[in-house]
């Protein structure tokens, strides 16, 4: 275990009393609580932390937070591994395991470093121009292996994620000086405030700038502010929380990082924040400069160097050269100087930096004004930088100066972080001097403040942020007086944007570091006549790395405006897409995983089924018994046994999920007559009629029995999957098309339990129960309904069924159905009663020749296709879908029609999904397909149902049925196999 050779003796916000050890690329290091992986590595003198995507160039730290393009690492291993994190954002914890990505064995010694030799062959878009012979497939595997950064876990994520909805008056994004001031103002004005910051501590740049606010040290002011907000019942402070996206109507999505340790109950939380007003105080990101070899480790942003030195007490280098075009960088230089880092020189691209340069000079720092960087020297670490007079002051590289150093701090300008604002469609104006897009007039409910609004001095940030918070609160309806804004010393913060030095021969000058996009690549794209910034971005991949161009986009625009001879606003910027910073997929799914993904509905008989060892399956969102394992050794046997019981004795089927819709009112009959394809007006009270419903396109969408309980009272039963859909259709037509109809509809599906008692012994079984309903076939014929009491519970019994046997559907309040089910099983055991699952029922109805909507019909089936054409002729009134049945396509004779199919081989069960092949020789063309199929013990042969072209006119025809390479000879038949006269049904 080494000590930290580059750790400053004192200072920093790290907790020196809590040393932590961690492993990077297989070597153990130590740091302190409060370190990021980046600062700890720097403290340990680790300069090379990553390799670039394409050329595997050695790369060091450029930034200190989310803007970092180079230091991409993989954390942990196995189920809890996390790929592609930025070392600058990783807080170290004891035992943390990290390794660099896209290199082997380590970032320092990367076996793939040789790839940079091929650099000349790999300009922007090179892959579009080659790899075509013999075929892309030859090259792709190798290229895929070379591409990609981190490694995905291969086992399910053990961690938990959550989501939370939040509503507030003012959401403040960013916990720097501007954001804190805004939150204070809004909160003091009486607004409900949420303040979010993506760092572990509030304060933003105040964490590394020695400043004072309201006469006290800035960080004390921050602490006091945080305390004040936390004390307020109407304010919420969220740290380690990234506002990653702004969506319609002021919905801002946040991702909160709670705990990576397995101990933590929740790893991350997704917040949906609906805010009346949003203040975006997300700060600004410093820009590097584009010059030859500007990617050598040791070249970093001035603000990052300052942050490492002041916040983390790390010495980023011993002898630094500053190359700047901003006043803010002088502050950084001073901060490094007082920490004992030698400042070799401040090279200012501005001809006359003014007072700030003079005071630096007085402090003994050599100033080179009007100079620009020409090239850096060094491969694994920067050794020196050559600077020269900028073209504006003579020829480039003229009177070149050579500056030895091990650290180059660059500051080419500041780019306001306006992602959220722009996602909210905020307008932007371009500030030429500062070289930045600055928010123009605020957009609906959105305003920017502080550095995000282009204010770089602390004083401006505070006053501006405070004002923004106060206005936002006011706009959200808060009325109290926010009081006075915090104050800091006024200071200059001038910037003259500097993008890039003139070309240095053919030396590479990097624009997008991670994706290895150089100035030359941009030149190539322009040379090939790609002029739109979107084209150039896609062709060169600049700005498309995991940092999404936070440090590269503006420099690219700057260079392009030069190359295209167009102003930056004319070129325009590429769109800011969510997320601002990458978001964990688990966080987005939150709790909608596993059993909570698409919740299942349970029937009132759930426990009874489980007790009979039902094998449950998801049928249209209901958790229903497919078959009962207690009935045999295997699935086939169980289904066979259940079918036998239904045919020879008596069966119980849980029909509770069947849709039940009450339709009441004087116009109920009229209404249903319009909703059903069949005529329902003429249905007599107490009677039942089978009916189908159509969409306005004439297509069958559902079927079931329609029960008329009284003149003005109907009960519509739908398929279990159709219940809410049909109920919705009823409401839709009543509310929007026929508001004049006096009808009320009620979906009572869940209120009633439903048990189908079917089989030759069904009546015998029911007669053993205490009921006031006369079950005699003459008093209670098929397709009629009776209401009464069963075991002194209100019941409705309908003589309908799906098996083709004598059957009674018992409907009673759901709460009693379990108890009735038990009673039926007891009383029925002497006669061999048995519960049957969906599989058995499907086979029973198949051999009976009953169709099942959705199985034996598809999204095109019309009534005539299933043999109900004549109903139309007899019905004169209009109904939903009627006009569509009168179109040419509906009258084609070769439409798919519902028929029976018999394999020539009686024992062959035709596969469902097999097609009637039009030309068996060529095996081309379909004449329809098998929709249901089973072996029927009752009939002693296999039977199938299907939709066949012109089927009903082809009864008796022999056909070939194709399934996955095999052909089955079969015959088209009428599907009335079982009990064609319906004697059993009407028994």
């Amino acid at each position: 275990m080494r000590t930290n050779p580059h750790r400053l003796e004192s200072g920093g916000r790290i907790d020196r009393s809590r040393p932590l050890s961690f492993v990077f690329d297989g070597r153990r290091y130590n740091g302190f609580a409060g370190d990021t992986l980046a600062s700890a590595l720097l403290a340990n003198g680790v300069r090379i932390i990553g390799r670039s995507f394409k050329l595997h160039r050695p790369r060091g730290l450029m930034g200190a937070w989310s803007e970092e393009p180079n230091a991409i690492v993989q954390l942990g291993s196995g189920a809890t591994a996390v790929p592609n994190l930025k070392a600058t954002q990783v807080e170290i914890t004891e035992g943390l395991q990290a390794r660099s990505v896209n290199c082997w064995p380590s970032a320092r010694r990367d076996a793939f470093a040789f790839l940079k030799l091929f650099g000349p062959l790999m300009p922007a878009g090179f892959y579009y121009k080659t790899f075509m012979w013999p075929s892309w497939h030859w090259f792709e595997p190798t290229i895929r292996r070379a591409a990609g950064l981190g490694i995905s876990p291969r086992v399910p994520d053990p961690d938990r994620y959550e989501e939370r909805h939040e509503h507030c008056d003012v959401l403040v994004v960013g916990g720097g000086p501007g954001g804190i001031a805004a939150a204070l103002a809004a909160s003091r004005a009486g607004a409900r405030v949420v303040l979010v910051d993506d760092r572990p501590v509030l304060g933003g740049s105040l964490q590394w700038e020695e400043k004072s606010i309201d006469g006290q040290p800035a960080l004390e002011w921050v602490a006091a502010a945080e305390q004040e907000l936390r004390a307020s019942s109407s304010a919420r402070v969220l740290k380690r929380t990234t506002a990653f996206g702004c969506y319609d109507h002021n919905l801002v999505a946040l991702s909160e990082r709670i705990g990576s340790e397995p101990a933590a109950a929740v790893r991350e939380r997704l917040w949906h924040v609906r805010a009346a007003r949003v203040v975006v105080a997300s700060g600004a990101i410093e820009r590097p400069m584009v010059f030859a070899n500007n990617d050598v480790p040791g070249i970093m942003l001035a603000s990052a160097a300052m942050s490492y030195a002041a916040q983390y007490a790390v010495r980023p280098g011993r002898r630094a050269v500053f190359v700047v075009s901003t006043d803010s960088a002088y502050e950084a230089a001073e901060s490094l100087r007082i920490r004992g880092i030698e400042i070799a020189a401040i090279v200012d691209t501005r001809k006359d930096p003014g007072e700030i340069a003079l005071s630096a000079q007085r402090a003994g720092i050599p100033i080179l004004a009007g100079y620009v960087p020409v090239r850096a020297r060094g491969t694994l670490a920067v050794k020196s930088i050559e600077v020269g007079l900028s073209p504006a002051n003579g020829t480039a590289g003229g009177s070149a100066r050579h500056l030895e150093c091990d650290l180059v701090c660059v500051s080419g300008g500041w780019t306001p972080t306006v992602h959220l604002y722009s996602q909210a469609r905020g307008q932007m104006r371009y500030d030429r001097e500062r070289g930045a897009f600055i928010p123009a007039a605020g957009t609906k409910g959105f305003q920017c403040a502080g550095a995000a609004a282009g204010n770089l001095s602390l004083h401006q940030c505070l006053t501006d942020g405070f004002a923004a918070g106060r206005e936002a609160a006011k706009a959200a309806g808060a009325t109290s007086d926010a009081g006075l804004a915090p104050i800091a010393k006024a200071e200059r913060s001038a910037v003259t944007a500097f993008w890039a030095s003139p070309r240095d021969g053919h030396r590479k000058a990097w624009v997008d570091f991670q994706n290895d996009v150089t100035r030359g690549d941009l030149e190539l794209a322009v040379r090939e006549n790609l002029r739109s910034v979107e084209h150039i971005k896609r062709y060169t991949t600049t700005g498309m790395a995991v940092d999404q161009g936070k440090t590269s986009n503006m420099n690219a625009l700057g260079i392009l405006s030069e190359l295209l001879q167009t102003s930056i606003p004319e070129i325009g910027t590429t769109t800011f897409r969510p997320p601002y910073d990458p978001v964990t997929l688990g966080t987005l799914a939150a709790r909608h995983v596993g059993g909570l993904y698409h919740p299942l509905r349970h029937t009132p008989l759930d426990r009874q089924h489980a007790a009979a060892r039902a094998v449950f399956e998801d049928f249209g969102g209901w958790w229903r018994p497919a078959w009962y394992a207690s009935h045999g050794r295997n699935r086939e046997e169980c289904i066979r046994v259940e079918k036998r019981a239904a045919r020879s004795a008596v069966s119980l089927f849980d029909g509770s999920p069947l849709g039940k819709i009450e339709v009441r009112g004087p116009d109920a009959a009229l209404f249903l007559n319009r909703m059903y394809y069949n005529t329902m007006r003429t249905l007599a009270a107490g009677r039942i009629r089978y009916g189908i419903m159509l969409s306005e396109h004439g297509v069958i969408i559902d079927d079931g029995v329609c029960i008329r309980l009284a003149d003005d009272h109907f009960l519509v039963s739908t398929t279990s999957g159709g219940a809410s859909r049909i109920f919705g259709a009823f409401e839709d037509w009543l509310q929007c098309e026929w508001p004049d109809l006096r009808v009320l509809v009620t979906n009572v599906t869940s209120a009633w339990g439903n048990i189908a008692v079917a089989g030759p012994k069904a009546r015998e079984l029911l007669s053993r129960l205490d009921t006031d309903i006369d079950l005699d076939p003459h008093a209670f014929p098929h397709l009629s309904v009776r209401r009464g009491r069963l075991e002194s519970v209100p019941v409705r019994i309908a003589r309908v069924g799906f098996t083709g046997e004598l059957s009674f559907e018992l409907s009673l309040p759901a709460g009693y159905s379990a108890s009735l089910w038990q009673l039926l099983l007891e009383r029925g055991s002497p006669m061999g009663v048995m519960p049957i699952g969906i599989e058995a029922l499907q086979e029973l109805r198949t051999e009976k020749g009953y169709l099942h909507v959705g199985t034996d019909t598809d999204g095109r089936t019309l009534p005539a296709d299933i043999g109900l054409g004549e109903v139309l002729a007899r019905k004169t009134d209009d109904f939903v879908g009627r006009r569509s049945l009168d179109r040419a396509d509906a009258k084609r004779s070769d439409r798919l029609q519902f028929v029976g199919l018999e394999a020539h081989e009686r024992a062959t069960v035709l596969p469902v999904g097999a097609h009637l092949v039009a030309d068996p020789k060529t095996r081309r063309g379909s004449h329809g397909y098998v929709t249901s199929s089973c072996m029927s013990e009752a009939l002693g042969r296999s039977v199938a149902l299907g939709l066949v072209q012109g089927g009903r006119s082809r009864l008796g025809e022999s056909v070939q049925i194709y399934s996955d390479g095999r052909l089955f000879p079969a015959r088209i038949v009428s599907p009335q196999w079982y009990d064609p006269k319906g004697e059993r049904l009407n028994a």
């Binding site: 790929p83 121009k129 490694i151 996206g245 497919a626």
Partner: protein, 415 residues
């Protein structure tokens, strides 16, 4: 200059300073035989095939923004021809066959990667649907295989194979010829080849109206002046209704936002394209290593090409149901394209209701995979005024006769 490894090496020596333009930036002429409105994949492919197959080279492609900037540059790049209806199979397989030769034909690597597309079934009903679909494919002359759970695990070692999964994987249909292609490259390749054949590609040129003579359209009014043409072709997916309105007619089209998502780049983890019938989510891994993820449409009309949260959450939850190990990966980018949706989700390639005008629209979410086929058939219609055999049935008439071609309705698996 022909693109090749040699060309690349030669230019490396000259520091890549001698590469010619990919295409010209011509000033619009006063008159063209055909003006194609819309510089997306379909418009550019149409222009290319007009010039190459029919010798009609006095053609302009007019693009409001930058070419390939619409759905061509926003989709999830899946190509496949696993369709139920013979009509669909014809056009999409024509397209796939053209894709298979496209890199060499255009001399531009579109990176067609036929790594196979798996459609997962999660219930006995879905398995029946899959085999109905697969057998239809076979009878349409399209290859495909049914995979059992064990075979699926060989293709997808990371698939959620837990028996207690909310949507257990019970089977899948595989089309080996399906896969992905580099979307920008398709647009750029067609543009470069069309330009080389003399087609004028005019970017940053918006059509603001149409010139009429009687009941006939004889040209377009653009932000860069009037351009006369014998024939005006619309290939403006997403905005078909908007252009139709300018020409004075309405279409059976509704515009929806279709979202797409990518994760950060990863080392190879997923070898093929996967679509789940139960969750509707689909995913593939790009050559760069990003997981490219898609799902259903946002459920109301939109022309805003931006992401939305509910759909994102639903799609990601669906993805994690099938691949729980992807939970710790991170979303890098979210965006949306605007697609033309027709009731039967099948395209419209036909004469417009206005004389002199032609339509290529309604591809819904299936537009990218159809670019070469759609362009080929549309060029045929423009050149001959007769529907190409592969495009029969995709006319406007079907909405009056009811002869819709609805894959979703027939096989439960829509585009």
């Amino acid at each position: 200059m022909r693109f090749s490894a040699i060309a690349l090496a030669r230019n490396a020596v000259s520091y890549h300073e001698r590469w010619p333009k990919l295409w010209r930036s011509p000033e619009p002429r006063r008159f063209y035989d055909v003006v194609i409105v819309g510089g997306g994949g379909h418009g550019l492919a149409t222009a290319y095939y007009l010039a190459k197959e029919h010798g009609i080279r006095n053609v302009a492609v007019i693009e409001k923004g930058w070419l390939g900037g619409g759905n061509t540059g926003r989709n999830t790049t899946v190509v496949r021809s696993n369709y139920f209806y013979p009509e669909s199979a014809r056009i999409y397989d024509l397209s796939l066959r053209l894709y298979e030769g496209l890199s060499r034909e255009l001399g531009f690597n579109i990176m067609l990667s036929q790594r196979g597309i798996l459609t997962l079934g999660h219930s006995s009903h879905q398995l029946e649907m899959l085999s109905r679909w697969l057998n239809a494919m076979h009878l349409n002359g399209i290859e495909g295989e049914m995979l059992n759970p064990r075979q699926i695990r060989e293709w997808l070692p990371l698939i959620n194979s837990s028996p207690t999964a909310r949507f257990p994987v019970k089977g899948a249909v595989l089309q080996r010829r399906g896969g992905v292609a580099r979307h920008d490259a398709v647009a750029w390749g067609f543009a470069r080849a069309a330009d080389a054949l003399g087609v004028d590609i005019i970017q940053n040129c918006e059509v603001i109206g149409f010139q009429r003579e009687g009941d006939r359209v004889v040209g377009v009014e653009t932000t860069r002046g009037h351009i006369r043409a014998n024939k005006v072709a619309l290939a403006v997916a997403g905005h078909s209704s908007v252009l139709a309105a300018k020409a004075g007619f309405r279409l059976p089209v509704t515009s929806y936002a279709l979202q797409a998502f990518v994760t950060e780049p990863l080392k190879p983890i997923l070898s093929c394209v996967v679509l789940s019938m139960a969750t509707g989510a689909y995913v593939s891994q790009s050559d760069k290593g990003e997981l490219v993820i898609g799902g259903g449409l946002d459920l109301y009309p939109s022309y805003a090409q931006r992401g939305n949260l509910p759909a994102l959450q639903a799609v990601v939850a669906g993805l994690l149901e099938c691949f729980p190990c992807f939970s710790r990966l991170r979303l890098l980018r979210q965006w949306a394209g605007i697609v033309d949706v027709v009731h039967d989700s099948s395209p419209i390639i036909d004469h417009a209701p206005v004389r002199g005008m032609y339509l290529n629209c309604g591809w819904g979410t299936g537009g990218f995979k159809a670019i070469p086929g759609g362009g080929f058939a549309f060029a045929h219609l423009l050149a001959t005024d007769r529907a190409h055999p592969a495009a029969e049935g995709f006319g406007l008439r079907r909405f009056a006769t009811g002869a819709l071609i609805d894959e979703g309705a027939a096989a439960g698996i829509s585009h």
